[in-house]
């Protein structure tokens, strides 16, 4: 069986699950996120504009913030024991304030020579739809 020693006596194996976490942002969190970016897109803070002009059912959770949660899913699992070296993700389903989102994932490939693992991660909505799928590469020790 292919496996990697992380730090004694920890090991990572194919199919290992990443811990689930729940995200239920409110409009204060969404405001603070877009404020630190300097993102004035009204669909993130102006509910009247968002529903009446743009036709969305509610304030739209910012796509990059959902992307951040995918990163957190991997990093919280690593807990400082490895390094996230790449992430590929997309935003597939629009999510709105009031929804509860969940993250999770699992280990899909291991390379014991390079000490790298590929991890599939996702953010799902309450209906089980994949809001944002992602794939990360993590490194458990410096090469060489």
């Amino acid at each position: 069986m292919t496996f990697i020693q992380r730090s004694e006596p920890f090991s990572v194996q194919l199919g290992d699950k990443l811990p689930h976490r729940e995200f239920k942002p409110d409009n204060v969190q969404l405001f603070l996120y877009n404020a630190i970016l300097w993102n004035a897109h009204r669909i993130h803070f102006d509910e009247t504009y968002t529903t009446e002009v743009e036709g969305y059912p509610g304030l739209v959770i910012a796509g990059p913030m959902i992307g951040d949660w995918l990163h957190q899913c991997v990093e919280d699992w690593l807990d400082g024991e490895g390094r996230l070296v790449s992430m590929e993700y997309s935003n597939r389903i629009t999510a709105y304030i009031g929804e509860t989102l969940h993250c999770g994932g699992n280990v899909i490939a291991l390379d014991s020579d390079s000490k790298e693992a590929r991890v599939e991660v996702f953010i799902k909505n309450e209906a089980g739809g994949i809001v944002a799928p992602g794939e990360a590469t993590v490194l458990f020790a410096e090469k060489g």
Binding site: Q29, A40, P64, D68, Q72, D79, V85, S86, S90, N91
Partner: protein, 151 residues
Amino acid sequence: MKTLLSNELLENIGRQSCPQRELVTRRDIKKYAVAVGALQSKYVEGDQAPPLFHIALFWDVVGLNTLSTDGLSKDPLLPKFPLSRAMAGGSRIDYIHDIYPGDWLTATRTLTNIYEKKGHSGPLIFYEVDMEIINDAGELVIKEKKTSILR
């Protein structure tokens, strides 16, 4: 097949933004980490920048008079496309070096590709923007490829 992509439009491939140099501060890291609900103390305390912090660091600080009614501003890197409705795209980000308070980072964005695909309900235009972030030693810190879709 008739294409939406004129030669004039495709000539914009390779267009590059002016390099943008910014200082990473502990305060901005903390604000970002709190806003995204980060749990790890190194991020919440501002000792190290979390992975997607560069999005906040390099988001254009535009003037209020440049915002349109929806609150967005035009990206000066992009040409006028014949389609305008944005669909969700994707990103690939390579993290080469960690980022700490006090780091000066410089980002350069390049429009690297424009192409067309046939969608279920009509043509789609894809475009790719690469962002390279280097430190003051000239080392590559982050490399990002963002693919956007218009319909």
